[in-house]
Symmetry: C2
Subunit: 280 residues, 2 copies
Amino acid sequence: MALETKSEAKSHGGIQGVYTHQSEACHCPMTFAVFVPPHKDGQKLPVLWYLSGLTCTHANVMEKGEYRRAAVDHGVIIVCPDTSPRGEGVADEPGNWKLGCGAGFYVDATEAPWAPHYSMYSYVTEELPALIAANFPADMARQSVFGHSMGGHGALICALKNPGRYKSCSAFAPIASPMTADWSKPALAAYLGSDEKSWRGHDAVALIKDGARLPELLVDQGTADSFLNDGLRPWLLEDACKAAGIPLTLRMQEGYDHSYYFISSFMADHIGWHAERLMR
Amino acid sequence: MALETKSEAKSHGGIQGVYTHQSEACHCPMTFAVFVPPHKDGQKLPVLWYLSGLTCTHANVMEKGEYRRAAVDHGVIIVCPDTSPRGEGVADEPGNWKLGCGAGFYVDATEAPWAPHYSMYSYVTEELPALIAANFPADMARQSVFGHSMGGHGALICALKNPGRYKSCSAFAPIASPMTADWSKPALAAYLGSDEKSWRGHDAVALIKDGARLPELLVDQGTADSFLNDGLRPWLLEDACKAAGIPLTLRMQEGYDHSYYFISSFMADHIGWHAERLMR
């Protein structure tokens, strides 16, 4: 599991790095960002996974997410994967920002032409964690996950499908139910085939209805988010959590949109919330 | 002085806006960013000017500077101008990042082909302040200025040339003496002509030697900054301040480079430092 360092810069007392490796899950080189706060020699820090939204790479949240101050305050490593495989030979639909590169949806594709490379679920839950464990001062017994939009969906399904793996899960403006949103349905159909039954295993609302559980959940959603009513629909998550008895804190944030100006506003809040649960 | 709103987004409780206007100083449309923290109706807030470095627009620090949290904490408006005129008919040397677009050096050019548009000194000290005063809840009696690299130089000369205008001045990795750095000398020659005497009015070290004074000065400089020895040379500023009796706090920040990872690490520090002086 060789790792190539693309860049490392000191920031807020820690190291913001960008790394690439040849992914076995995605069969292509993959790039990701890791921020390691200052720590004692030999000390291992908890790991907070941040999954990004449509069109993003690892770089967007690294540059605009404003997570480093809070990560240092709480002593938490932040890992930011890419949102899809990329590069030569990787299937794509240029011009369609909801499918292909930048739109992996954190599923393992089963259908042509996507299946050979689009295994983002395995990548973020299996391959990359092993790489992080081997190469960074990470205490893998203490992991949490959060994300934005498509990455909020990713965080939810990663946590719902792996009970006990993550100490906590939160999301900024997540796609609550990608299998029922016009916005994301075509991607699930492309990656997973036309049988909607196979989609249920990658849809937070369906997973909860089918019995998956989380100890609790924190979601921030801007009221001025232009994707609120079509793509995101947090009320579906609210209904499902209520029916399942999952304590959901859904904060409708007045006047906020879908951008990093929204994410960064509540980033420190979320990191602090996760840190509490990671340190228990 | 008509202002066009390009975008406004709520962030950290305030409004991050981007605006354009037809500049009289630069004879072209100019774009700038303003962050206004939450405030009471009718309340006027102090204004902190952030001048950016080579190759930047208003957008770089707006996206990567991490200034909004601290601006809200201290109730300070942050204004981020562009670094040069741009667009059709504006002279440029594409491929040369140290001259022309993105490299206005905060001077009023006197030479062809630059003179018609490159009046960034007048723009940031006269035209834009008037526009800010007319369009934002700004208390123009309380202004401070800071900046990075070329914008650190800009902040220094704006403060040195306008005693009493700014309550305080600080810089991240400023170009201490552009007229003696190989890095920036060609730009001053292009904008101001070959007579080095005319350069002295736009060089912090020369201005101090020639009698300009500041009440005090805060400078952060990364020790791993690849431009430290050629372009920046803070020791020249240190010597000049010492000789002139200007209290300079020069903090050599171990391991930091020239990037926004460095700037953002000390952004809250600088804003807090300015806020103290703006509130006196």
